[in-house]
Symmetry: C2
Subunit: 268 residues, 2 copies
């Protein structure tokens, strides 16, 4: 256990408690507690200790359930690919829903104020940028479901990011991208049969992003439902009768497409 203070922006005065664990020979992981506007959040940093020098950083934004094991696993997968990844926390420490009703309520509380969403995202981004292994000028963000909406909204708000990836994310938003304001290249992976992300919403996103001069790649997987990246989706479907399902092909293709995007924008 060690405590590190990061010199962060005023919106996120942060004291970190780091618990390092050895997941593989090279991979280092740290559970990170940090504060935003007086509230405590718990994220998870993963990187490969065998890699010399600073590397690009990737933010991982969780599903509507909250900061869970799935989000941490994505960070670890990114670490194995040579990135430093930070699975952030948008809800606050311990806020992990077990029932869709709780998830919905957490999500509504977290998103009622876009300034609050941005403050929480920026705090995590600053943390990642100041990590010893990270080149702060090369940062991407990827999100799932609710997290997909978060990263797209950060792109819409003009946050300085090199790449943004949304997996089965909500695509509609109270805010719209403005021409010339959106910096990152954007990849959107969506299930063609995702009832939470209907085709009207996908079409609307495409028009919005085209009109805003965004570098957009959209991939629609036919017959694929919401949550296709998450192997735990099938259990959720059974337990709560929700129209979600894991899809190995869509999960694999969206992952490979993401790695290609990062390789292109980061030149590594």
């Amino acid at each position: 256990m060690k405590t590190i203070r990061y010199g962060l922006a005023a919106t996120a005065a942060v004291a970190l408690t780091l618990a390092s664990a050895q997941v593989s020979a090279a991979m280092q992981t740290e559970t990170v507690e940090y504060q935003v506007n007086g509230k405590t959040f718990t994220g998870y940093m993963a990187y490969d200790d065998d890699i010399d020098g600073k590397r690009p950083g990737v933010l991982v934004v969780h599903e509507w359930w909250g900061h869970n094991e799935f989000a941490r696993e994505q960070a670890e997968k990114l670490a194995l690919e040579g990135y430093t990844a930070f699975a952030l926390d948008m809800y606050g420490s311990g806020k992990l829903a077990k029932h869709p009703e709780d998830a919905k309520s957490f999500m509504q509380e977290a998103t009622k104020d876009m300034d609050q969403v941005k403050a929480r995202f920026m705090a995590a981004k600053n943390l990642l940028q100041q990590h010893v292994s990270v080149d702060p000028s090369r940062i991407a963000a990827q999100g799932y479901c609710f997290g997909g909406a978060v990263v797209l909204n950060m792109a819409r708000l003009g946050v300085d990011l090199d790449a943004v990836v949304s997996y089965h994310g909500a695509l509609g938003s109270p805010i719209s991208a403005e021409a010339g304001k959106v910096e990152p290249r954007i990849h959107v992976y969506t299930g063609g049969a995702d009832k939470m992300v209907p085709s009207e919403q996908v079409a609307g996103l495409v028009k919005e992003m085209q009109d805003a001069e965004v570098d957009l790649t959209l991939v629609s997987f036919p017959g694929v439902l919401h949550s296709f990246t998450n192997p735990g989706a099938d259990q959720i479907a059974e337990e709560f009768g929700m129209p979600v399902a894991y899809d190995q092909n869509a999960a694999s293709r969206s992952w490979e497409g993401t790695l290609e995007l990062y390789s292109e924008v980061f030149g590594n």
Copy 2:
């Protein structure tokens, strides 16, 4: 000079005159005359003679100008990647426009009847499938501008293809894709500032293809105009005051994306 008879479907009883030319040590090219419903067409076959065995075939559908040098060059590039490519002819031998007014008139004549479009496309597809170097079960089609509309319409009509790629193609159509009828994976590369392909049309295509359960990848390049794949576009822009322009980055990314698609669907 040699004459070969292909046993083709009734719509395309064909006598071929082949003129072989050596473009590189390995590449073979053949100018192919063929007939569809009593009218003569001139296409261009390209393949690598050093490759043993049958390989996938790719149809190349020209811009609204007609079967031109640019289309032939795409066939040669595909041949260098290990495919047998056939740059077909949708207008008829010698119909190569020098002025946009002629191009428009040729295009209108060729597309006034969707059955005619399909007959011309299928004749070329049959020719390609019966080429000695081609595995007839593995066929893709790619088209530019007018040709992009042609290949998308063939997908909409349920033509048996493994992959379809549209580059700065018109995306609207008098016919619509039907759920479960569209076989190929589809890549659409479009310029974000293409005045011939406005964002409403792009959004409409996405909705249509999602609703029809199509495996769709859409890439929109910000600030990019119509004809971005064609180095000759800048001269056209100057000569006729048209809003077209070559874009090296978009040309390169759409080409790489196409090769990846073919590699994935053909497993080579």
